[in-house]
């Protein structure tokens, strides 16, 4: 039976979310009321008959380790396979590798030990809920060296500018990978190849002092490799800036997007947090909002997202905002176009206001 292992490569992702990534890697930024960005990719993998997942952890990985815990919440707390968080812990004095290639170099034994012949590689910025089994079958059927997951957006958005665009022939063989501004299918950052080829490309890149597996190993070898594009049409979004982060959170307040992302397939798995149901008190007034469990609401909440255990006191109003877990909004507070990171307290009668294009972001653990 041919099987895939999963690799979430955070080694080449930048901390692009300003205040939200001061203390954590982008992959562990909270999203959609109860998730972290990485949950989507990780859930997609564990549903796809992938039983071993490695994560190249990048910097600021403590919150990631904390979130992932034993892997039990993704069914990855297993004795054989399971979840492997591989942080940057280099001790080899002969190591000449650079960029994300360093993770490969220092974890070669991990890949050698694994039983799967294929590796599905992903970042954490492509948000969707799917399974990769069809893509795997497609890869095998087409006898490709590499298969890229692509998708198309009818109305290109700012965040797609920095994405790699894919041109292909009528048999979906990739002919060009570039950053042109034309409206071409977008590369999702998810791709699939055999472990053997992966390790060959890694060795070659290191030997030639390269720094980036995808750019130097795949894109630069477009002529030599047989690369397929697998087109995906489900609900998805790309989160690679505060602006796109805010917009794609807010998009989920539309019942149709909410249903498409969360109810079209399997559940998105995330860390268990044991909160009681949310308590709406007598004076609560809530509309068009996504509310996690454990909240206590006495005030007014409109067009907003509350993560778990948020308290909104009587007389407070929260509008067009994202309020992360354990925040306290005291009496008379007014928030509009605001993102509060977790554990923020906004004291009585304070008002904060940003714009939709530039939401006001408050870093975690602040009291205002």
């Amino acid at each position: 039976m041919k099987t895939m292992m999963g690799l979430i490569n955070l080694g080449q992702e930048h901390d692009y979310l300003n205040e939200l990534t001061y203390f954590r890697t982008g992959a562990s930024v909270p999203f959609a009321g109860r998730y972290r960005l990485i949950d989507f990719t990780l859930s997609n993998m564990t549903r796809s008959n992938i039983y071993e997942v490695a994560i190249f952890a990048g910097n600021k990985y403590r919150s990631l380790m904390d979130h992932l815990g034993t892997g039990a919440d993704w069914d990855l707390d297993k004795r054989h396979g399971g979840l492997f968080i591989l942080p940057p812990d280099w001790n080899d004095p002969t190591d000449i590798s650079k960029g994300d290639l360093r993770y490969f170099h220092n974890n070669f034994d991990y890949f050698e030990r694994g039983k799967s012949e294929y590796v599905l590689i992903s970042g954490s910025q492509f948000i969707t809920s799917t399974v990769y089994d069809d893509m795997f079958q497609f890869h095998l059927d087409r006898d490709a060296d590499v298969t890229l997951l692509t998708t198309s957006y009818p109305d290109p958005l700012p965040e797609h500018r920095s994405c790699i665009k894919v041109k292909m022939d009528e048999k979906s063989w990739v002919t060009c990978l570039c950053n042109e501004q034309e409206n071409q299918p977008v590369f999702s950052g998810v791709y699939l190849l055999s472990k053997q080829l992966l390790l060959e490309l890694v060795k070659e890149c290191i030997a030639h002092h390269k720094e980036n597996l995808f750019k130097d190993g795949i894109m630069a070898n477009l002529e030599r490799l047989k690369i397929q594009a697998y087109q995906y049409d489900g609900y998805s979004s790309v989160v690679n800036s505060i602006e796109s982060y805010y917009r794609h959170n807010m998009a989920l307040l539309e019942a149709s997007s909410y249903q498409e992302l969360f109810f079209s397939g399997n559940n998105v798995l995330t860390k268990v947090n044991n909160q009681p149901p949310t308590n709406y008190h007598d004076t609560a007034k809530v509309s068009k909002s996504l509310i996690a469990t454990g909240c206590e609401i006495d005030g007014e909440v409109t067009n907003s997202i509350l993560f778990h255990n948020v308290k909104v006191a009587q007389g407070a109003t929260v509008k067009n905002s994202i309020i992360m877990q354990h925040c306290q909004i005291e009496e008379g507070v007014h928030l509009e176009n605001v993102i509060l990171d977790k554990n923020v307290t906004v004291t009585k009668n304070q008002a904060l206001k940003g714009t939709k294009e530039q939401p006001f972001v408050v870093a975690k653990r602040r009291t205002i």
Binding site: A32, N274, Y280, S287, L290, I291
Partner: protein
């Protein structure tokens, strides 16, 4: 492995008076509080009191219950040597071996208990809603030098006739039991929580097992026998909320108690958390035009209508123009548009068709709606509003 105390949790109850709610479900597995099942309170007490190992005795319709408990993961009772074990009746070489009473269930598992060579055995049941530190009760039991300690609750004098009452001396030594007395001498009601010295209990269990016409029940047989022999039996006063949700009415009441600011702590006490399986659904979506007041709502609910003084478990949808009031809605129920529900309990995955009205008066027992009876209601009252008042 030696342990000071072994906990035996009786979870085999049939819960007859819960009607439809326990048709295919053991009482401890009945959903409660928007997220939990009744037994979660007892299991969380075990974790929070650090009272393990726990043997869970199941018998009647245990499938859902077994699935729910598993190896005890949500309660951190999935421990190598001293965690949770489900003790169901099983076949021996010669035929079956059903539990014939609460005491018999313990007798049939003497080997399980003896494995831990304990001094004490805590016997509890999975039927009640309460927070209790059993470890404190154990300390009290050890200090008093009792053979048995029974946890008691002061109930209002006018309600004593509904309970098993313990009559005690001033120092709480028990000299008499009265089951549902008309003229009670005391208002100390037994909560069904016992700590025994294991050596003493074992002796009485073996004695009782040999009696042909015994019901093999703690309350009926074992405790009276101990009292008759003048064993040292003490009451232990418990203070706090305790509720036997044994009837539809008390089940509904216990839910309405959750809107009381003080009792809301039953679910949100950070010092004494109640654990259960976590929902895997996304956050609840409250849509434009919805009104939600005095309610507890869990993940995955999508609300377009009005919800008041109600408890919604995960994945419930409430349609536009609909009003849900003083009701309990179990997981996955779909309430259509322009529905009016008051004082009802909607069971798991039941669909309430658009336009339905079922309003139950405060003087009637709340109505439990299942997919079967909702169709009967529809046929009986086609086009008419149903008011049971």
């Amino acid at each position: 492995m030696k342990k000071e105390c072994v906990t035996m949790l009786l979870a085999g109850g049939v819960g007859k008076r819960l009607g439809l709610l326990t048709k295919n479900l053991a009482k401890p597995a009945v959903p409660f509080g928007g997220k939990y099942r009744i037994i979660d309170f007892t299991l969380s007490n075990c974790l929070n009191s650090r009272m393990f190992p726990v043997g869970v005795l199941t018998q009647y319709s245990p499938l859902k219950l077994h699935q729910h408990i598993g190896v005890g993961k949500p309660w951190d009772l999935d421990r190598m040597h001293d965690g949770l074990t489900i003790l169901s009746p099983f076949t021996e070489t010669h035929g079956g071996n059903w539990y014939e009473g609460t005491a018999d269930a313990i007798t049939k598992n003497i080997n399980y208990i003896d494995n831990y060579d304990p001094e004490y055995v805590l016997v509890i049941s999975g039927d009640h809603i309460y927070h209790m530190d059993y470890n404190q009760m154990l300390s009290h039991h050890k200090k008093s030098g009792a053979d048995v300690t029974i946890s008691v609750l002061e109930v209002p004098w006018k309600e004593t006739s509904r309970f098993g009452i313990l009559n005690t001396t001033d120092d709480l030594r028990i000299y008499e039991f009265e089951e549902k007395p008309i003229h009670a001498k005391s208002n100390l009601a037994s909560m069904g929580v016992y700590i025994f010295n294991w050596k003493v209990l074992k002796e009485y269990l073996l004695e009782d097992a040999s009696l042909e016409n015994s019901d093999h029940d703690f309350g009926e047989n074992i405790l009276p026998a101990m009292l008759a022999n003048n064993r040292r039996m003490y009451a232990y006063r418990f203070k706090g909320y305790w509720k036997d949700v044994g009837t539809i009415e008390s089940y509904w009441e216990a839910h309405m108690d959750l809107f009381d600011q003080d009792l809301a702590q039953l679910l949100r006490n950070k010092e004494w958390p109640v654990y259960s399986h976590n929902s895997l659904l996304p956050p609840q979506l409250i849509e434009d035009g919805a009104i939600v007041r005095e309610s507890l709502i869990n993940n995955g609910c999508v609300i377009k209508g009005t919800v008041e003084q109600s408890v919604l478990f995960e994945g419930v949808t409430v349609g536009k123009g609909t009003r849900v009031s003083k009701s309990i809605i179990h997981p996955g129920a779909k309430i259509g548009e322009n529905v009016e529900l008051e004082r009802v309990i909607v069971q798991e995955n039941v669909t309430i068709p658009a336009g339905t009205t079922i309003v139950v008066g405060m003087d009637k027992e709340p109505v439990v709606l299942s997919n079967e009876n909702i169709n009967q209601f529809k046929q009986l009252f086609a086009g008419k509003k149903i008011k049971l008042a």
